[in-house]
């Protein structure tokens, strides 16, 4: 058991190491470097030299990788090209705002997905299932920028219920942010919720067809007791990992949605830094987003380990 946990953590770290290599090499092999890109036409002579010195680009690539990686571990990603501010300070508040958005979407999405998935599975092929399944297919397929745009058009412009565009400074308090995030959260949560609901549905249906559920029925266990004791724990266990993957996928949706709503989070930073070819920022973003992805998956793995009796008992008897 402990061995398994350590193994999972090590594998996560290895993944992060490979990600750091990929982003570093990826930005390295592309034509031009940070300085030529940034300085554009003035990229020659002293100015270029100064830029190289400032960014430490005049040492061999592997040395730069090592020092970059070592600093990154301590949260120091160096300086952004454009703002000449430490990347850490640029990112900090934006990450916080994006996390607020993402966690709100997750906290709302997961319970709704669970309920919809279970309801559709238990009422399989009957009205609630057909209705909800049709809606989830639509919700699942419409891109975030379309649902966001439509939400703005309908709720903000035509009905004028909520603000459509978020116009607040980066460092607002949570409560000032609240009315602004309702629409973005809905847009983000839609796809994710629909995906998870379908996943939960099929998992529950699978378990409902199992021998042990038939046995529980034949034992005379009342329906709802059977659902909660025999079906759900076994159906939701394999769902944990898929939910984790869906959540990680949501990060992409967050970027797009933030752009639509002009939300002061990572989304706009991603677009800006890439448009400006601000490579140090891009590297930092890639690493941070990948770490979030890896940690969510690690968490899901650990949860599965804790809850699965097959793995849980390893620790007791071996």
């Amino acid at each position: 058991m402990l061995f398994l946990i350590i193994k999972r953590i090590l594998l996560g770290l290895i993944t992060l190491f490979i990600v750091s290599l990929i982003t570093f090499v990826g930005t390295e092999i592309l034509p031009g470097d940070a300085c030529t890109t940034y300085l554009e036409r003035q990229a020659f002579g002293e100015q270029l030299e100064a830029c190289y010195n400032r960014l430490g680009l005049n040492v061999p690539a592997y040395e730069r990788y090592v020092s970059w990686a070592l600093n990154a571990i301590q949260g120091d990603f160096g300086y952004s090209l454009s703002g000449e501010m430490p990347i850490k300070d640029v990112l900090g508040p934006k990450i916080k705002n994006s996390l607020v958005l993402a966690s709100a979407a997750i906290l709302i999405g997961i319970p709704i997905a669970l309920i919809l998935g279970i309801v559709t599975a238990l009422w399989r092929d009957r009205l609630p299932d057909v209705a909800i399944s049709t809606v989830t297919i639509f919700a699942m397929t419409i891109p975030e920028f379309i649902s966001a745009t439509l939400l703005i058009l309908i709720v903000a412009i035509w009905l004028e219920w909520l603000p459509g565009i978020v116009i607040v400074p980066t460092d607002v308090t949570f409560f000032e942010l609240l009315p602004n995030i309702i629409l973005p959260v809905i847009a983000i949560a839609m796809i994710m919720t629909a995906h998870m609901a379908r996943m939960v549905r099929s998992s529950v249906i699978q378990v409902m067809a199992s021998d042990y559920v038939q046995m529980a029925i034949l034992k005379g266990v009342p329906y709802w007791k059977m659902v909660f004791k025999h079906v759900l724990p076994n159906a939701l266990l394999p769902a944990i990992n898929v939910v984790a993957l869906t959540i990680a996928w949501l990060l992409g949706g967050v970027v797009v949605t933030e752009v639509v709503f002009n939300y002061p989070g990572l989304g706009r930073l991603v677009i800006e830094s890439i448009s400006n070819r601000d490579l140090p920022v891009v590297q930092a973003l890639a690493l941070i987003l990948a770490s979030i992805y890896v940690s969510i998956n690690l968490l899901a793995d650990l949860m599965t380990l804790m809850l699965n009796p097959r793995l849980k008992t390893l620790q007791i008897r071996k």
């Binding site: 067809a209 021998d211 034949l218 097959r310 008992t313």
Partner: protein, 675 residues
Amino acid sequence: MFEIIQNVKNLSIGFRSKKGEEILILKNISTNIKKGETVGIVGESGSGKSTLALAMMGYVKHGLYTIGGKCEFNSSNLLTMNSRELEKIRGRKIAMIPQNAGQALTPNLKIGYQIDEALQLHSNLNKQQRDEKISELLNKVRLPSPDTIALRYPHELSGGQQQRVAVAMALAGKPDLLLLDEPTTGLDVTTQAHVLELLKFIAKDTGTSMVYVSHDLGAIAQVSDRIIVMYSGEIVLEGPSRSILKKPIHPYTFGLLKSIPKLSLAGLPESMPGSQPQPGSISRGCSFYDRCNFSSDKCKNNSPDLEYLEDLKTSIKCFNYKNLMNDNEVNQNVKKINTNSQDKEILTLSEVSISYAKQKLLDQVFNKITDDNPTVKDININIKKGETIALVGESGSGKSTILKSIAGLLRTKDGIITFDQNRQLPSDLKLRNPNELRIIQLIFQNPDESLNPNHTVEEIISQPLKLYFGLKGEELKKNIIELLEKVRLGEFYMSRYPRQLSGGEKQRVAVARAFAAKPDIILCDEVTSALDVSVQAAVLNLLQQLKEDFGTTYIFVSHDLAVVRAISDRVAVLYQGRLCEVGPSKDVYQFPSHPYTEVLLGAVLEPDPDIKPKLVAEDIVEEKPPKKGCSFQGRCSRIVGDICKNEIPPWQLTTSGNSIRCHIPLKELQKAQII
């Protein structure tokens, strides 16, 4: 007269096919179960026996529906009850013991909880009383240390233990009727005999009525008072157990009993032609007409009704049963197998050991132990050209493992495999040359898995022909047709896919594929276990015929001692990957025997109510072979002392050429515990 507790009247259950036709699984079934009796329902897969048993609990599987008739329990129809009424009957009045308890126990709930749940639902006991009751129930099903078992999860128990838990769970509600759906199928022979013994005890002890559903006439014969024989969704014969097994008057039962190999008879039993029709196949006549040896013209277009014969207390669905009544007991005509075993050795295993232990990461880091206790150890067997040698043993005995390493699929740890006395076969498949690969072919247990579902029969059989002989075009086709004819399948099978064939036909294709390579040795891995009883004998006969035609050598792995008795010249008995006994079959099946052989033979269930299994050893499941001493020490009831625990027993040779590996002197072994 006994009181009737379950009454099935004109029950028909079916489903609607994709084309919208109504397809019947059960056709107009009427029967009843009386208080205190045990009724056996026997039939092949697809005969509707499980559907009938489930209907007796008012349960119809998803996708099926009741077309007509009723199942009355204490005079109320279960099939029209609402779920609340059913909850009060299920588990309390009627309980089910499922086929595969491993899958029928909820994986996330502890054993104790699952039994407690039944008690909460069906008794008025308080918490403390229930805890006592759980221990009592687990004790009753003879599980060791009930208190610790209650705290375990299902996956932590062995198959036999899981089955016992299922029995305990069923008994928790003190039901009047117990339904058992193949409760011992999938268990090892000795475990099966023990569970059956327990069930018989419970029937007697509690006076519960039982319905025992099985494909295995051997198990049915041991437990039931009355037998219902089902074929293609219909009851074809129903009557007292003894008369049905001793004097079956229905052609199907008659043929079936003749085709089952018996422990007491060497040689191949007669086989039954064809296979059970698929549900939905249309026939106006008797469903058994195509396979019947007693049929008349009348049977072709008219379906007989179930007729009750007062004097025999038997119901029968046949026009011509009188032709069978004159016969005495089923006389089994067996065909003696011609042994064309020659003195020349074709394959020699010397000192073969095989290890499954992988060098895990943890081992690599901390302690680099090489496996000193391999799964299979010290195997020495000389296989003669043209003989059929059987490897027998329960699961975990290493019989299939040895087969795999002969085929080169599993590398040996130590030892040498020699072909034709002088050519050493490389242990790794990749190092064998095409000829060395060709001479050894495999036939697998389950033809569903051993034939590629996306290939036609033609493509399947052509593979070895192309690979080894480079055949093409007309010649290839000619060879395929020849092979198909050899396995009694016509040319028109060439374009079929495996899913369009019955189990027996699939296995014939697998046999044809093996023979296509013109091999010297064929490894048969449980080749009849996945087949229906009525088809087994036909496949065995085919294998024997082909062997006589081609002079092939068979290495035949099976857990079924009766099948082994029928087909093999020599038998090797394995326990925990170590040989216990090797010798000519007639001697292995007689005394003196190794204590383990004795246990195995004692546990065999014969379809004869007069032959009872004899249980010698406990059915303990050992996970690993002992590090030193005799491999069977953990279960042996004849241990002579510490010598069994510390020293590997010597080989003792009997006068008839049987080798037994035991510390007990031959004279002592002669005095068998069971006779």
